[in-house]
């Protein structure tokens, strides 16, 4: 590739052309098509028929879609909320540099590499009401043994649990960020008589706040689009309790054969994601510390 003679921008674009092509073909094109199909009734086998905004109108009255939205909201809140707190806590614990921390860190990270189908099956088994390890442990501790996958609340808790099992990526990034806080700041704080909690809230958290913001955004985006776990573990049940919005999109597209409606649903989801992410980014403007401009 004798690109040296080209205008620099053209040359740069040539080098990144694989990504540009891929972006066009596998993202821009589908998104545009998605917008068009959301205005049609398309069953995959018939030809698409233009129906204008009818899909969106139907959405407004679709109680299952509303329930799915609510489920996604609950799932995202629980996963992101508990997940963030938990991963921060774990990262702090790991950064205490106790012997064996590196091994524990590896074990905490390992679940993120496990195939989602295997993770779902493992947890289906672990949460089995009679014979699963979770309830066996609870039973020996004389605690109540809920029917995890058979009740609406239990099922939602189950899929949240599986998601929390995979917070390894966040733990690792937080740990690295915590490690990056200059020790001199802690020393100065100690001299001023600040206890561990003060140090945490006035030094550690503010300095790693960019990482927190980034991870918040990523986990929100991820939770809103996750549907493999509910699909495999609970099939959206019982009583549609774990039908997340993304799962409902999948069902409409590939089970009921209503591609047009599925695209409309997907656009609504996209909008929600954008709004939420914008909200987090706006809030982080004030809360996030920027190291040097």
């Amino acid at each position: 590739m004798a690109t040296a003679r080209l205008h620099p921008t053209l040359r740069g674009l040539t080098w990144v052309s694989p990504w540009l092509l891929g972006f066009g073909l596998f993202m821009l094109l589908p998104i545009t098509l998605s917008a068009w199909y959301s205005l049609t009734d398309y069953s995959l086998l018939d030809r698409p028929i233009y129906v204008g905004l009818e899909n969106y109108r139907e959405l407004l009255h679709d109680s299952v879609a509303h329930a799915a939205l609510k489920n996604s909201a609950i799932f995202t809140l629980a996963t992101v909320g508990v997940g963030t707190l938990l991963s921060l806590a774990l990262a702090l614990l790991l950064e205490q540099r106790l012997p064996g921390s590196e091994f524990v860190r590896a074990i905490v990270f390992l679940p993120t590499l496990v195939p989602v189908i295997a993770a779902a099956l493992l947890w289906m088994w672990a949460l089995n009401t009679e014979t699963g390890s979770v309830n066996t442990i609870l039973r020996t501790l004389h605690l109540p043994t809920p029917d995890w996958l058979g009740t609406p609340t239990g099922a939602m808790a189950s899929i949240v649990l599986v998601s929390l099992w995979g917070i390894g990526t966040f733990v690792v990034t937080y740990a690295a960020a915590i490690r990056g806080v200059p020790v001199s700041l802690y020393e100065a704080a100690c001299i001023d008589g600040a206890g561990p909690f003060r140090r945490l809230t006035t030094i550690t958290l503010p300095i790693i706040s960019p990482t927190i913001a980034f991870n918040l955004v990523m986990s929100i985006i991820w939770s809103l689009q996750a549907f493999a776990v509910p699909l495999v573990m609970t099939r959206g049940g019982p009583a549609n309790a774990t039908t997340t919005f993304a799962l409902y999109v999948y069902q409409n597209a590939f089970v009921f054969g209503r591609m047009g409606y599925a695209c409309a649903l997907a656009w609504v989801q996209f909008l929600f994601t954008l709004v939420l992410v914008a909200g987090v980014l706006w809030a982080s403007r004030r809360a996030v510390y920027h190291r040097g401009a």
Partner: protein, 282 residues
Amino acid sequence: MNRSSIARKLLLAALLLLVLAAFAMPLFSMLLTAMREAKSVGKPLLEPGHVPSAAQLGANVKEVWTGRAADFPLFLHNSLFVAGLSVLGMVVSSSIVAYGFSRLRWRGRDALFILVLATLMIPFPILMAPLYLVFKQLGWIGTFLPLWVPAWFGGTFSIFLLRQFFLSIPRELDDAARIDGCSEFGVFTRIILPIAAPAIAVVALLQFVASWNDFLAPLLFLNHEETYTLALGLHMYQSQHGGTPWNLVMTAALLIILPVVFVFILAQRAIIGSVATQGLNE
């Protein structure tokens, strides 16, 4: 060392142990179940006649591997085929693109890179249905093409990682090569790539894991059992009409997770290290 700091250390150590147990528990449970017979599943661990054994694990593995219910050797073959092409494509395309975003200076470079990162925000459900239709038009449904061709156009995380690495390589090296008359592509292949080999290895490993684990793409685009990858094969195996016994399902899950664990053990620090940086440079 005073009393309270020992107590504190003990408390933290106990917490660490608890965390270890909590995260390892499902994997442990899987292993134990895979070592039991179908009739022992659900019985207490130490009940005589139902104790898990390595011999039973061997028998279960044989049953899963050679059983008629699912052709796992075929699924393995398919998974490896797709993963191989996927890794190759990702490595080649991502390094080229990352080079363009790091070693060359051009107007619009950083703005475009922000767009690359922004694509992380696009939820898969919005792409799902139209992607299917695009592939249908191309006649690719039912083939492996939708599973590995997209990797040949670069991936956000791989590009990000390699760009980070390339940025850290001192410029004097390429300047020297350019003075000697080396073309841009020459600099890329002869100077940058060899230095970046470790980072590229990490990208290759992570892409391998991603392809190995991929469930959604096979679910949407593959129809015939003969083309199934391991992830989809496991799903099919488990959801058979009538239910498959849990000890065999867990054995199958174990077989699928094992290569990933192996890869992880061999390259653990590298993988964790590269993942950790992604949050630092937002």
